[in-house]
Subunit: 389 residues, 2 copies
């Protein structure tokens, strides 16, 4: 397989973008990435788009072709492919783009992710998000997506003594990071108290434990690493890619406090990269709920099982900690336009490794990681990125 | 890139399978393919699933993980990825599986396609199918998917003198082929007269010009060609893979009587394979409407533009013709469970190249082609398959 580099990144503002359409945000992120890569449309060989549920959010399937069309790429008749695995759609699109370049099939590939969630009612949006879980054995029986995560949180607190306050600390940290990110949906710091007094969603998870519904899009441009120097001042290499699955329904898992798919995806990515956890200075993980970040930092191997809450409380995952987790603000504060999220994670890591993250820059960041989750952990994709020394 | 072979195929019956669920048919096709390949679950490295709109047909996204789970593959935590491009979803899944093996990332990959269409009302089904077209510029303005194809048909008749009877001949031929296929949804021959007197759907297209709504699933097992001999008596090689896009909306096309995406995808696939049109003895093309097959056989280069109707009338696309088109019965008679269709096409070609197509066997078939279309031609995937001499 060929080595693969990222030569361009682009991202829209995340939030309730009521004056923008799906196609508008998709194109806008793509054009920004293409401009950043110093290429023009005729250089592009293929497009991958991560999207969870445009069919239900905007009544449009076939969004790979849609984005190719409205960004002008269909004039070159390039292959355009949508990839979906609920919340992991963006990370999966990145992996397919990686494969397209690594295989030698394509040279320059644009990977985008987009979701327009706020044009339907909150109830409809919640229903759509629940379609990431097992429709027959979970959703139809009444459990919401937040409800499933509250089961995980309750069990984790019981097994490991994780506290309600530690969950809150994830949100507090990510809001602090988000306040430093001009593209974030929420740019205000919050206190523990704000989280603990926010409305209950599904006990023990409160409003500030949950990532918002968001509109937004993100894109990256890939090419063979040996060509990357021609296009980018500081190309970032994708050195590891791991993907794993697990049972769709939570109750079929070996242990609901561990995402085995995260463990396996990470193991595969680290093996491919020849790197270890201690090499990683910055990580974007899938904090759709505060408990999800605690599971993530444990299952990725940054901290032992059961110590994620304490590590967060102790500031070990803050910008200046052992590993900076969700420097962008994460899904919690940067926002979570589902299909865009996995690609937005890569955009943040590239920004950090380029040393261009301004106020939220992690010092001497040279290796970064993304962890992108579909459902309650039925799909996980982990990527590792490295700056040339 | 490594050479890629097909070592197993599986397919369900196509039709109104009211007593089966999406997961049941998906698993059933997959298990049949795995059994045919003489492998067991622990050999499988990855799964790709083609599906257009489970989110709307059965309220379930994340169907890659679903199929991995319920077929027992999630126990091995293998990567499971859903790919979507409306009607071309199955063909795209095949292409991604091909890439995964060709790149060296995976050895044994299962590619499945599935759709469960008949659990919603016909009106809802029609709406969902229309989401393959441009929601903002076509569907919202009232045109149906059949309506868009009737525009193509009318123009083709005007430009090239294609007759209403020649359109009917596509359906008559494909029903004849379908009558020889035990897995086909429609297994009865029909006459020209039956087509010409069937209810009008969108002038000039009548009921028998349209493929049905179907439930069904299909699967193939891929591996590096050099390993294929260990698993299959007669491995079939995927020698060419081409994909192309075009504008999503029909009115933006250069010429609505030509699918440029078919021309480009075919050009790319033939170039990769080092083959020419005259080498192909059997082709499965995307006859979701009778006019679609006429465009396909022209744009693939089997016949000159405008001569597709005449060629069909003259029997040149029948089992014993210049090139046997849709020996399975095609979408028209075998059925069209959207996401399954592209994979079902590959299943038919492998069956033919193995010489196992019984009554519908094409004599001395050694090279086969599939053409799978999304929307009205915004996505087209073409694959070429060859039997070792």
């Amino acid at each position: 397989m060929r080595r693969v580099g990222i030569i361009g990144i682009g991202i829209t503002e995340f939030g309730e973008l009521w004056d923008s359409s799906f196609r508008k945000i998709g194109i806008s992120a793509g054009l920004a990435a293409v401009e950043d890569a110093n290429i023009s449309a005729e250089h592009i060989d293929a497009l991958y788009v991560g999207n969870m549920s445009a069919g239900r959010f905007i009544r449009q399937e076939h969004v790979g072709a849609l984005i190719a069309d409205y960004s002008g790429l269909a004039k070159g008749h390039i292959p355009a492919t949508r990839v979906e695995a609920a919340g992991a759609s963006g990370g999966l699109a990145l992996r397919q783009g990686f494969l397209a370049v690594a295989s030698g099939m394509n040279d320059i590939v644009v990977v985008g992710g987009a979701e327009k969630m706020t044009d339907v009612s909150d109830v409809e949006s919640s229903l759509i998000q629940s379609s990431a879980a097992d429709q027959e054995w979970e959703t139809e029986l009444g459990v919401t997506f937040a409800g499933l995560h509250s089961l995980i949180a309750t069990r984790h607190m019981h097994e490991y003594g994780t506290t309600r306050e530690q969950l809150a600390d994830v949100a507090v940290k990510n809001h602090r990071h988000g306040s430093l990110n001009p593209k974030a949906q929420f740019r205000r710091e919050i206190s523990r108290d704000v989280v603990l007094k926010s409305p209950m969603v599904s006990s023990p998870l409160r409003m500030f434990d949950c990532a918002p519904s968001s509109d937004g899009a993100a894109a990256v441009v890939l090419c063979p690493f040996e060509m990357a120097g021609k296009h980018a001042e500081m190309p970032i290499e994708i050195v590891g890619s791991g993907q794993a699955s697990d049972s769709l329904a939570l109750h079929h898992r070996r242990d609901i406090c561990t995402m085995d798919a995260t463990r396996l995806a990470a193991k595969r990515a680290f093996k491919m990269a020849g790197l270890r956890q201690k090499d990683v200075s910055v990580a974007e993980v899938h904090d759709n709920f505060t408990i999800s970040e605690i599971l993530a930092i444990e299952d990725l191997g940054f901290f032992s099982k059961g110590e994620g809450g304490k590590a967060t409380e102790d500031g070990r995952t803050a910008l200046e900690g052992d590993v900076a987790v969700n420097s962008s603000g994460g899904l919690k504060a940067r926002g979570d336009p589902i299909g865009a999220t996995g690609v937005a994670q890569a955009v943040e890591i590239v920004t950090q490794l380029r040393g261009k993250a301004d106020e939220r820059q992690v010092k001497d960041a040279s290796v970064g990681l993304t962890q992108n989750v579909g459902g309650t952990g039925a799909t996980v994709v982990v990527h590792l990125f490295r700056r040339e020394m």
